[in-house]
């Protein structure tokens, strides 16, 4: 694999070829393989499950349009899909900034009760809040590398930065999170 994340060995190639031919089993398999990942990325970026689902749905519309035209041997399909999802999220975040939001994103109500599930959700929300307070690029680097488990090369390609720049973003973001999450125990 070269420094731009291009490879001849795309793990999604065979599946994508069958999707392009309209193979129903391949379409279901691609949805099963990619939908949870794209939803997770969008949920963490937007902090809103409904908006995340809208992003995922739009991303797959683009997959169906692109599948017949996909050129293998270039960028990996997963890298491209992450780039599409990221851009769709950026669009929504930009629209939020342009207009005051009427309602905040969905949060767990701490008054519901002090059971374990609620406590876990509250902790999750605290981590999510710390992530959302990071500068955008640091947050995105951590989302792509830690949560989406992209390699440093693929994450750098999605963000359009060098691997050295990605490493710097990750290091700064993680240092900031270590400070913000002090006192939170796993």
């Amino acid at each position: 694999m070269n420094a731009r994340g291009q490879t001849r060995d795309d793990p999604d190639e065979a599946l994508l070829r069958r999707v392009a031919a309209g193979d129903p089993a391949a379409i279901q398999a691609l949805i099963a393989r990619k939908l949870p990942r794209i939803c997770a990325l969008a949920s963490r970026m937007l902090g809103d499950a409904t908006e995340a689902e809208d992003v995922a749905q739009e991303a797959f519309l683009r997959v169906w349009r692109q599948a017949p035209n996909w050129r293998f041997g270039g960028a990996k399909f997963d890298t491209w899909l992450h780039r599409v999802a990221l851009n769709l999220c950026y669009d929504r975040l930009r629209k939020r900034r342009e207009r005051p939001s009427a309602e905040p994103p969905e949060q767990v109500d701490p008054a519901v009760g002090a059971d374990v599930e609620v406590e876990m959700m509250q902790t999750s929300n605290q981590v999510q809040a710390a992530l959302s307070e990071l500068p955008e690029r640091q947050r995105d680097a951590i989302l792509l590398h830690h949560y989406q488990e992209l390699s440093n090369i693929d994450a750098a390609a999605v963000l359009g930065v060098s691997v050295d720049a990605l490493e710097s973003l990750l290091a700064r973001g993680r240092r900031a999170l270590r400070v913000r999450l002090q006192g939170l125990h796993s």
Partner: protein, 139 residues
Amino acid sequence: MTPERFAALADAFGADLRRWPEADRNAAQALVQESTLARARLAEADALDALLDLSRIAAPSADLRQRILATAPRPRATGPASARSRLLRWLSGLGAIGILTCGAVAGAAVVAMSGPSHVDADSLAGLYDQTNSLDVGGA
């Protein structure tokens, strides 16, 4: 690998060496085996990784899967029963004048059926109705 470089990589990529840049893994592994300091840096990184992993995301709803599936391309029709073959047989039944008259409409339909398409029997019926209203003449 120097201890300083190891610390920088742990800061950036966390405790799992499999997630580190490929070129650095072997040297990092060697340092971990011989250095207490390196293991301590990994433990710090692991603590942060564990905190990050407390962020939980709900799985996509079944409804979302269905909505996405509904927009997926249909299989390309092949063989004698294909929509293209049926359309061409129907056009040939109109005679030469009929084909010229509705050539533009048929051409658009053939082009539409060339790629991943959602053309189905209803769409063909609509095309027939539209063309049938023209003064095509012939048999």
